[in-house]
Amino acid sequence: MADVRIHYRKTDIYERLVDEEGIFDSYVDLFVFAACRGYAEGERDQSDYKGDAEMLWMHFGNKDFHRAAAACIAYQTTNDPNSLMDHEEQLDILAQYASAGADILQDDYGEVKGSPLNSLLNDVKQYEPDSDEEEGGVSALEKLRKDMNM
């Protein structure tokens, strides 16, 4: 299978959080983190999200959770079950959320003096998704797992 790749917008915050501060191990990790943050905030950038940087599906090869997040976010965005299987579409949608998420990260941590590690951790911990959805989600998960005999 030809390698799936997309272009994404790699802003200054990538250099700051990966190269300068060393908080994220790789651009891939930060790309997924930014995308999830964008998704969590309901922010998606559909027009100017493509930049010069490339993201390859093979970078997700041994990261099951990254792949799961890509599939779920793509599906939740398109509401099309085919999105669960379309890696290119998943990457493309992730790039849209990552573009908006990177801007949020830039706004929140770009001007922080010193390491923004603590602020990042605090924000992750304080994040609470809508409670109704959560309950629904949990019961659905349990039910699904039982039904599938897993």
Binding site: Y75, P81, K125, Y127, G136, G137, M148, M150
Partner: protein, 691 residues
């Protein structure tokens, strides 16, 4: 002696002036002030010239005659320089007139030649008759000995000499003069001369053998004297080295304490550094957690909603509820069920799993959904773990931070202590005058080496002292033996015997006088010491104490260190001590004069203090202190001061004590033919403003 008035004619820039001094006992200060160069020092010299024909600290001393008067004089003609001093002494009114007649030798002669000198002293006796003593000069010197003039007519320079760090010479000399001990000094010298005369007589009276013995004895005595001199030098050297050793020891003590604290501080710093490394490793772990699983929390709604949707899809039949054949095959091949059980072919469990295989062909959605669902559990637990692990790491980091803060507090405390010790040390080093650079001292070990060196030096001096003392003892015995031989040789000669007795008597008297002389010096030193320390204490607001040491040094002590301060560190205090010293001597002289007891050498007297610019090196506080004290020590004080010294604290402090006040008005071209001239203008004495 109370000064009444001074007149000066053709004396330097004074053409014709007259000043009447305050004789009021309450307002006993007369102030004469003017700008720099207006003639204060010249005026001071008018006193000295009138009394002793002395001139002091004056440039071009040959050019005594007023330039204006001299220019108006034709060659061959002469000008009279005249100083008239009136004063009260022993209840009598005295007038001292000194007059020099100076002849101009040529048109451009500016100095002239003294062709006549005249000194007259007159006083009014009890009957109101004018009496002229026969020996004017001696009469004046009886009233105020010339030797003492330094003490009563002084300038800033003399104060500097007195306040010098090696001032023993000046202080001893001042005490000697003041107490009339110079008479004893001279008597001792004279007796030595008498002794020598008798010895010569004895030599002449004795034969050759006796002569030889006497020569031997003389040479031994001379040798002994030289050794005694050396011994004194060595003893002084030993004392000085001991003082240096004490200084170094005190500094080392401070350094030991500092080094101990430094080590503690270093240990704490090491611990802080370890904890900071630990904190860094916690942060690295937190970063790894955030990078790896931080996104899961944000993605969780997507996971859960997808799970819901997949469930709905399954219920709608869009995803088969059975496991796909491929998935079951994978499980069987891997030999492990998703519940963790081992799958071995032929076992019931293996067969049960195999039974799940469906005949329905699974499509891609089916497989993807199954993979996702299998990951959801892991994702959930990974998310929980992320929260738990990061919470624990953050708590641990907080504990480490608290510990670091505690340790930093401890380090701060130690640093404050070190700083205090360093400040103390710097103060101490300043006050003891130890010059580390000069002694090439870079570290405590250098200091220890320096102390060791001093101790060795001291040991060697002590040995030398022992040797010298042995030599003196041997010489004593030899001289005694020689004396016995001399006694035996001359016993038959009555003449020689008489000469010997006389010589011995002269020697005994001389020795007695020397002892008396030493004793007097120390008695007076003790009295002066008491006065100086009392006066100094009154004047100086700090804790410092002034003392006249056993070896006649006027020293200032810091009671906190019991260490004399070097002159450059406390010039103000030292100058105040010097002024206190003079004031004390004047006070002692007055006390002796008023006492009923008849003193042997010096009966004291009432003396004025005439001070020329004594405030130069003092700061405002010390000027104020001195100005308040000096008028209380002498019956009469005449202050010559520049305007800048006079205005401010000196004037404010003396205001209630001023009886008369004069201003010296100097004009560069105000005299005849545009020559410099100073006139005197009496000023109204200002009353102290009521606060």
């Amino acid at each position: 002696m109370i000064l009444k008035s001074l007149e000066a004619r053709n004396f330097r820039q004074f053409r014709d002036i007259e000043l009447e001094f305050s004789t009021d006992s309450d307002r006993n200060v007369t102030v004469i002030h003017g700008q720099n160069g207006s003639g204060k020092t010249t005026l001071m010299n008018a006193f000295l010239w009138g009394l002793y024909e002395d001139l002091r600290s004056l440039e071009n001393q040959d050019q005594l005659v007023n330039q204006g008067a001299f220019l108006e004089t034709d060659p061959g003609e002469s000008v009279q320089i005249e100083v008239v001093l009136e004063f009260e002494h022993d209840g009598r009114h005295h007038t001292v007139t000194r007059r020099h007649t100076v002849q101009k030798r040529s048109e451009d002669d500016q100095i002239g030649q003294v062709i006549d000198e005249e000194l007259t002293v007159e006083y009014l006796n009890e009957q109101g008759e004018v009496v002229e003593p026969n020996t004017e000069l001696r009469y004046i010197r009886q009233i105020i000995p010339r030797d003492l003039s330094d003490l009563f007519f002084f300038d800033g320079e003399y104060i500097n000499d007195l306040s010098g760090i090696d001032n023993q010479g000046e202080i001893r000399e001042a005490i000697r003069k003041m107490m009339g001990l110079t008479i004893l000094d001279r008597s001792t010298d004279h007796l030595e001369w008498v002794e020598k005369q008798f010895r010569e007589e004895l030599q002449n009276a004795g034969g050759a053998e006796l002569q030889e013995l006497i020569n031997k004895q003389e040479s031994k005595e001379e040798e002994q004297q030289q050794i005694e001199q050396k011994l004194e030098d060595k003893k002084r050297k030993k004392a000085r080295i001991q003082e240096e050793i004490n200084d170094i020891s005190a500094v080392l003590e401070q350094l030991d304490e500092t080094a101990e604290l430094e080590e503690k501080r270093q240990n704490l710093q090491d611990r802080i550094s370890d904890l900071e490394d630990h904190k860094q490793s916690i942060n690295s772990k937190l970063e790894a957690q955030l990078s790896k699983n931080g996104f899961l929390t944000y993605a969780m709604p997507a996971f859960k909603e997808t799970a819901e949707d997949l469930d709905e899809l399954r219920e709608a039949g869009e995803i088969p509820s059975e496991l796909s054949n491929e998935f079951v095959d994978d499980l069987l091949e891997s030999g492990e069920c998703i519940c963790g059980r081992e799958l071995v072919e032929g076992t019931p469990h293996y067969e049960e799993v195999k039974g799940y295989k469906s005949t329905v062909n699974a499509d891609g959605l089916d497989q993807t959904a199954i993979k996702l669902i299998s990951h959801f559990t892991q994702i959930e637990s990974a998310t929980e773990e992320f929260k738990k692990d990061t919470d624990e790491l953050i708590e641990e980091r907080e504990r480490v931070d608290a510990k670091i803060n505690d340790l930093r507090g401890d380090v701060d405390d130690i640093e404050v202590k070190i700083e205090e010790l360093t400040d103390d040390f710097d103060d101490y080093a300043d006050e003891t005058g130890i010059d580390w650079d000069e002694q090439d001292i870079q570290s405590p070990s250098d200091l220890q080496a320096a102390r060791q060196e001093k101790q060795e030096e001291k040991s060697s001096v002590v040995k030398e002292i022992g040797k010298l003392e042995d030599k003196i003892e041997i010489l004593d015995e030899e001289i005694e033996d020689l004396q016995e031989e001399i006694d035996a040789a001359e016993s038959e000669k009555r003449e020689a015997n008489l000469a010997r007795k006389r010589m011995q008597t002269a020697k005994a008297v001389r020795q007695d006088m020397e002892e008396t002389y030493e004793g007097f010096q120390h008695t007076v030193r003790e009295r002066a010491n008491k006065r100086v320390s009392e006066t100094f204490e009154d004047v100086i607001t700090s804790d410092y104490e002034a003392r006249i040491t056993d070896d006649f040094g006027l020293k200032i002590y810091d009671p906190n260190y019991d260490q004399a301060l070097p002159v450059n560190k406390s010039r103000g205090e030292r100058q105040v001590a010097s002024l206190s010293f003079i004031g004390s001597l004047v006070d002692i002289a007055r006390e002796r004069y008023e006492a009923e007891e008849d003193y042997k050498f010096f009966s004291g007297g009432i003396y004025p203090i005439v001070m020329d610019s004594p405030f130069g090196s003092l700061d405002n506080q010390h000027r104020r202190d001195v100005s308040e004290t000096i008028p209380q020590l002498a019956n009469q004080v005449i202050v010559l001061a520049t305007d800048s010294q006079w205005e401010g604290p000196v004037k404010e402090s003396m205001l209630d004590r001023i009886g008369r006040q004069f201003y010296l008005e100097y004009e560069q071209h105000g005299g005849a033919h545009g020559t410099p001239m100073t006139t005197v203008r009496e000023e109204t004495v200002a009353a102290k403003e009521v606060q």
